[in-house]
Every structure is written in structure tokens, then in C-alpha cells.
């Protein structure tokens, strides 16, 4: 084994981490702020990929514009879902898990009915089909795009939550909904906005994954469990998810480097269980959060 390969594995780990993170980011917000266990998150990701496909195929929108457009479209879907269903379930967290699982079935089958079950093709600019070489290490430019978009999204969410008036409201509602309401914060509106935001972020993830891998009605299912594990391991906070994804991505890359991919996954699942045994509240639990 030489150092260069290990370095490569570490860089790749960063990229894998960014994929896990962008998949889990929206979920973190929804779970962290509203306590909703959204099993339809994977299908939001899938919807993001399909919206990009649609915009590109029917309207000829350039790929880079498809990403924010997917954010808006999937965010709107999330908004509708929150108004139509989720808001009735806020005081029953386990029921949100079940209801959103029903939603995921409906979304998956709905998309299949409209677009068919064959995989769709999402094109990215030619420039992303190359790699960047830095001496020993090399990484594909599209992975760099994912990394940048993820960093941008995390930064945006952080600014929104910690530097704006809306963020103060969200954090107030997270800590004590009734108290916040008595200070005139419209908690219903806060929940609605965070849910839409979380769904929109899933849409961004989807438009990225569509290029990296494949656009299929079932594509979301493979992301939702791992995204959940990141959120819970992180403790439902933004920093927690970032750290959890970072560590897990690196671990996966390194284990896959020394053994094989399947075994790497097994080790990670077991490590997560062991970790949560000793720290059930996750890495950085939010102090004073209800639940």
C-alpha cells in the first residue's frame, strides 16, 4: 500500500461524506425543527431528479439551472404535503413515520405511472465528465461540484438558522413551541417553512444524484435509511449531521479501501448501533429541545 492511494481514499471519503450529507441535510432540518420522521425523504430526492430531468428534457434548461429549479419544485411539493397531511400529526411523531411511508409509496408509484419504470437520462455539461488531478490524488470534477453545492447548502442553512429573524423563530419553536407562540411566533408557519426547505434540499440532492448515478422511481429508497442514520447519529442538529456524515464517509472509504464495499457498510451499521448504545441522544443533541 502506498501513501498516494490512501490519500486518494481520504479525498474520496470527503466526497462520499458530502453525498451522505446532502442526502441527510433536508431530513435534519425537518427532524430537528419539527420532530417529523419523514420516510418520504428518499422520494423527495427522487422527485428532485425527475424535476431536473423534466426541465432539461422538455424545456431544455441548462443543468446548473435545474438544480435551483428542483429546489423550488420539490419545496413546493413539500409545502403542499405539510399543509395537507403533516400538520395534523405534529404531536404524534411515530405516526408521521407511518404516514410519510404511505406518502413515499404514493410518490414512487405516481412517478412510475407518469414516467414509466425505465431509467431516465440526465445530462450534465461535458466539463463535469473529467477529473481533476493533483499530483498523487485525483477526483472527478462532478464530485467537486457535489462537494461545493453541499457546502453552499450547509452554509445557507446555517446563515438562515443563526443569522436571520426566521432562524431565531425556528430555534424558539424547536425549544418550546407554546412559549414561542406566546411571544407571537406563528409556529404553524415556521413548521411549514422548515418542511418546505427540507424538501427543497432533498430536491437539490436529487438533481445531483441523477447525474452521478441514475434516475429511477425507486432511486430514493436506497438513500433514506442511511440519511436517517446520519441524522440520528448526529442528534438532529446541523453540526451533528455534518460531523456524522464526515466521519461515516471517511470510514466507508477507508474500510472499502482495505476490505470491500459490502463489508464496509456492515461495519458502519454496527458502529452506528454501538455508538448510539453509548450516546443515544446522538453527537450534538440540541439542549432544551422538546421530545
Amino acid at each position: 500500500m502506498d501513501l498516494g492511494s490512501l490519500l486518494n481514499a481520504l479525498i474520496l471519503g470527503l466526497s462520499i461524506a458530502s453525498i451522505w450529507l446532502i442526502a441527510a441535510l433536508g431530513l435534519t432540518i425537518i427532524y430537528g425543527a419539527a420532530g417529523v420522521i419523514n420516510m418520504a425523504h428518499g422520494e423527495f430526492i427522487m422527485l428532485g431528479a425527475y424535476s431536473s430531468y423534466m426541465l432539461q428534457y422538455y424545456l431544455g434548461l441548462p443543468y446548473l439551472l435545474c438544480i435551483p429549479a428542483s429546489f423550488v419544485i420539490v419545496g413546493a411539493v413539500g409545502l403542499a404535503l405539510e399543509r395537507g397531511l403533516i400538520r395534523y400529526l405534529y404531536n404524534r411523531p411515530l405516526d408521521t413515520l407511518l404516514a410519510t411511508y404511505g406518502v413515499s409509496l404514493v410518490l414512487m408509484q405516481g412517478v412510475r405511472l407518469i414516467f414509466g419504470s425505465d431509467p431516465k437520462y440526465l445530462a450534465a455539461p461535458e466539463i463535469f465528465s473529467s477529473n481533476i488531478s493533483l499530483g498523487f490524488a485525483s477526483i472527478s470534477s462532478f464530485r467537486v461540484v457535489i462537494l461545493l453545492v453541499t457546502a453552499l447548502c450547509v452554509l445557507g442553512v446555517w446563515l438562515l438558522f443563526y443569522k436571520t429573524r426566521f432562524g431565531v423563530q425556528v430555534r424558539a419553536v424547536m425549544q418550546n413551541k407554546e412559549m414561542a407562540a406566546s411571544f407571537g411566533i406563528n409556529s404553524s408557519r415556521v413548521y411549514m417553512m422548515t418542511f418546505a426547505l427540507g424538501a427543497g434540499l432533498a430536491g437539490v440532492a436529487g438533481s445531483l444524484f441523477g447525474v452521478l448515478a441514475i434516475v429511477l422511481p425507486t432511486m430514493g429508497a436506497s438513500y433514506v435509511v442511511q440519511a436517517f442514520l446520519m441524522v440520528v447519529t448526529g442528534g438532529g442538529s446541523l453540526a451533528g449531521t455534518v460531523v456524522a456524515s464526515g466521519v461515516t464517509g471517511e470510514l466507508q472509504s477507508i474500510f472499502a479501501f482495505f476490505t470491500n464495499d459490502t463489508f464496509a457498510r456492515f461495519v458502519i451499521f454496527v458502529l452506528i448501533v454501538v455508538f448510539l448504545r453509548f450516546r443515544p441522544q446522538g453527537l450534538f443533541a440540541q439542549a432544551g429541545a422538546r421530545r
Binding site: G4, S5, N8, A9, L12, S15, I16, I19, Q109, R112, S117, D118, P119, K120, Y121, A123, F128, S129, S130, N131, S133, S138, I139, S140, S141, F142, R143, F209, V211, L212, A213, I214, L216, T218, M219, S222, Q252, S253, A256, F257, N260, D261, T262, A264, R265
Partner: protein, 434 residues
């Protein structure tokens, strides 16, 4: 309250005991015959997934078979009567495969089953098929190492699939190769066969990696390949992963002209889904390509695509192999009917008479094939195609002679698959080895 509870308990216990002790009149007769009557259509079961993850290849299989039976019925049917396909949806769920198999055999009383794409679903339904002495037409490539008296397969076995591909690639691109596959039985078995051809061709294996089924993260594997610097990659990655693999191959900066992927799976459908820019230049070994240049195939492609079953706009190896099963069934059935009489044809009789049946050049889009008399797999000519910029394949090499199927080629110690079962080296014959 206690009284009630105790009484209920005793009643329940007594009822269960009585139930078990009741004389067992139900151990059903395993010999199973489809009730055939002259003049009534022959029912056959089409067992594929029309929904769920497996629907992508299997929906096409259903369409190909519907088309084939419609064509057969138009030309006089099988043994003079039309065939009536019973279509069910296995929902990509192995439990449903098993349930639907039972439904088709026990309730619909079909004469034969056509179905499955993955080995796992085949393994899920074989116990039922074998127990009822029924017949499964399995229409795609698989790993072999099975010897049952109830299946007929029209796809290439592992020993046929890579026989030409590996020497061709070694000669054209170089000796060093890296194996990548999905983590399950078929890729592992195919790779064992490929290693034998590689050794014969004087090649060198640099590494062998398996990816979880359905995974779309190829970063670690591509890093290992980058370090190993092979001359070409031999891929047995399937399904959605295969598409992710080709995309990331290009995104990571690999060049198709210096390190192409030689695949056993990446056909017309996959290429279309990944975009031809990611597929162009890579190689595929298969017995059939849409671009095969012969009159039968041209007619088949034209007629199929304009029929109502051709809505997906493509014909590919898996569809064609599925299409052939219908004609293998027709030939086997008619041979059995001639031997034992139409009314006495059973699924097992069809199978026993299918040894050696041929699908001629005039019918088979891939050209003449026939069923092996011992192991009931297919003699065929594997071909190698290179994907072009428009997503079609150009045939760069076709086998000159038919290649024999040999399900135990790499396990000579296990024995030889004969008509009556697996004949071990010690002379013992075991039936239904799966």
C-alpha cells in the same frame, strides 16, 4: 373470569390438537398433469415483475412473450390450438414470485411457466416447480451449477458467455484485466469462468471487486482500478449499478479507448438510460444484438417495434432470449404430443421431449439455436458488440461454431448434468440439484 379463560384455553388447545391428529388425507399427489383438451387453448403462465425494481427488464420480457404467442397463434398455434398466456405481476418480491407460481400451477393449471430474470427469483420458485414436476422456461443468462428436471433455459451459461470476449479483449487491448461485479452469485461464477479463459489467453488478473447490489457509489472501486492500471475492465455489474458504473467511469476521467469495459450486461437498454456518450466504445458479449444483420432479425425488429408490444422502442438480448422460449415450447410441445398424444402431454413430458429441439434460422433472430439433450440449456453463438455513439452496437466478432452449454464446467468434481439428474463421478445420480 378465570374459569372462562381456562375453559377457552383447553378448547383452543384441544382444537389445535385435534387438527393435527386428524388423518392426513391431503398429502397430495405430486404427479401433476395439465388437463389438456383438443380444441381448448393451452394456458401458459407469464411470471414477471411488472412493478417494482425488477420491472425494468421484466416488463420487456412479458411484452416479448405476448408478442411471440400472438405470432404463434396467428400461424396456427401450438399443436393446432392457440396459446393463452396468463399474465401475473410478481411485484419484484420473492414472496410474490413464490405465491404466483403456486397460483399459476395449482389454480390456473397452466401447462408451462415462463418467467424470472434474477437467479434469486428462480431459486424462490423452483421448489414449487420441482415438487409439482412442472416446467419453467428461464429466459436469460445465469451461472449454471444447477441440474433440475424441470427447467429449460435459452440464455447463455457462464461458460458460454465470456469464452470469446476475454481472448478478444486480451488480444486487442492487452493482458492486464480488472474484474468488477455486483455482489452476488452470477458475477462470481461468471468471473470464475472468465479466469479460465484469461489463463488460456495468457492474461493477468490485477484485482477483483464486488459492489453491493443497487449501490451507486463506485468511487472506491475506481480508485483501486486507477492504482492497478489494467488494460481493460471485465464487468458483471447489473441493473442500476451498471449505469452508475459507466457514468462514474467517465466522470472520474477514465478513457474508453485506453481502458474499455468488457461487459456481460450492458446492452441497448442500459446504454440508452446512461446516455450513449457514457456507453460508446465499450464492449458487450451477448448472443443477440438489435443490429444483427440477418433477414429474420430485421423482420423481427421491424414487426415487433410496430406492434403494440414494442412501445419501449428497443429489442435487446434479454427480450430475444425470452422470445425464443415461446418457440422452444412450441417445438417441445409438438414433439411430446406426437409421442404421447395431445391429451397426455404433461409439463414433464414436454421437458423430456425438448432435448435437441431446434429454433431455426428462419425463426430465431439470433440464428439457429437448439436445446442440449442432457442439461436442457441452449447451444448458441455468443457475439461481441461494441457500443457506438448512437447507442447501437456494432458486431465486431461472432462465434463461428455453436458453443455447448456446460452448467458444471468449472465443477468437474460435482459430476455431469444428464437428462435424469446430476451424475456424480461415483456413478450416483441425484435429481433436482439446485
Amino acid at each position: 373470569m378465570d374459569f372462562t379463560r381456562r375453559r377457552l384455553l383447553t378448547t383452543a388447545a384441544a382444537a389445535s390438537a385435534a387438527a393435527i391428529a386428524m388423518p392426513n388425507i391431503m398429502t397430495s399427489d405430486k404427479a401433476y398433469a395439465a388437463p389438456l383438451k383438443k380444441g381448448e387453448p393451452i394456458k401458459v403462465g407469464l411470471l414477471f415483475s411488472l412493478t417494482g425494481a425488477l420491472a425494468v427488464p421484466e416488463e420487456d420480457s412479458t411484452l416479448a412473450l405476448q408478442y411471440a404467442f400472438e405470432e404463434i397463434n396467428k400461424n396456427g398455434g401450438v399443436g393446432g390450438v392457440p396459446v393463452e398466456p396468463v399474465i401475473v405481476d410478481a411485484k419484484s418480491d420473492f414472496g410474490v414470485y413464490s405465491e404466483k407460481t403456486k397460483e399459476l400451477i395449482l389454480r390456473e393449471k397452466v401447462t408451462a411457466l415462463f418467467g424470472c430474470y434474477t437467479s434469486a427469483s428462480r431459486k424462490a420458485i423452483l421448489p414449487t416447480v420441482m415438487q409439482r414436476n412442472h416446467l419453467l422456461y428461464y429466459p436469460t443468462c445465469y451461472e449454471g451449477a444447477e441440474c433440475t428436471q424441470n427447467t429449460i433455459c435459452t440464455g447463455p451459461l457462464a461458460n458460454q458467455h465470456s469464452q470469446d470476449l476475454i481472448p478478444f479483449m486480451v488480444e486487442k487491448f492487452g493482458k492486464k484485466v480488472f474484474f468488477v461485479g455486483s455482489n452476488y452469485v452470477w458475477p462470481k461464477e461468471s468471473n470464475k469462468n472468465a479466469k479460465i479463459w484469461l489463463e488460456k489467453a495468457g492474461g493477468e488478473l490485477l484485482g477483483e471487486e464486488y459492489i453491493p447490489l443497487g449501490s451507486s457509489e463506485f468511487g472506491p472501486v475506481l480508485n483501486k482500478i486507477r492504482d492497478a492500471k489494467p488494460d481493460f475492465i471485465f464487468s458483471t455489474v447489473v441493473g442500476a449499478s451498471d449505469i452508475a458504473f459507466h457514468k462514474q467511469f467517465k466522470q472520474e476521467g477514465f478513457k474508453v479507448d485506453t481502458m474499455p469495459i468488457a461487459s456481460l450486461t450492458t446492452g441497448e437498454i442500459e446504454t440508452r438510460a446512461m446516455g450513449a456518450e457514457f456507453g460508446a466504445g465499450h464492449f458487450l458479449s451477448a448472443p443477440y444484438f438489435q443490429s444483427l444483420d440477418n433477414p429474420t432479425n430485421q423482420k423481427f425488429v421491424e414487426n415487433f417495434l410496430k406492434s403494440k408490444y414494442g412501445k419501449n422502442g428497443v429489442t435487446h438480448y434479454n427480450m430475444e432470449e425470452t422470445y425464443l422460449t415461446a418457440y422452444v415450447f412450441k417445438a417441445g410441445f409438438e414433439k411430446a404430443a406426437a409421442a404421447v398424444g395431445f391429451e397426455n402431454v404433461t409439463p414433464r413430458a414436454i421437458r423430456d421431449h425438448s432435448g435437441g429441439v431446434r429454433v431455426e434460422d428462419a425463426v430465431s433472430p439470433e440464428g439457429l439455436v437448439w436445446i442440449d439433450e442432457n442439461n436442457f440449456n441452449t447451444w448458441l453463438k455468443p457475439k461481441i458488440g461494441q457500443c457506438q455513439a448512437d447507442g447501437t452496437f456494432k458486431i465486431v466478432k461472432a462465434a463461428e461454431k455453436h458453443v455447448a452449454p456446460d452448467p458444471y464446467s468449472i465443477y468437474p468434481d460435482a459430476g455431469v448434468c444428464t437428462k435424469d439428474g446430476l451424475k456424480a463421478p461415483d456413478g450416483k445420480v441425484r435429481t433436482n440439484v439446485i
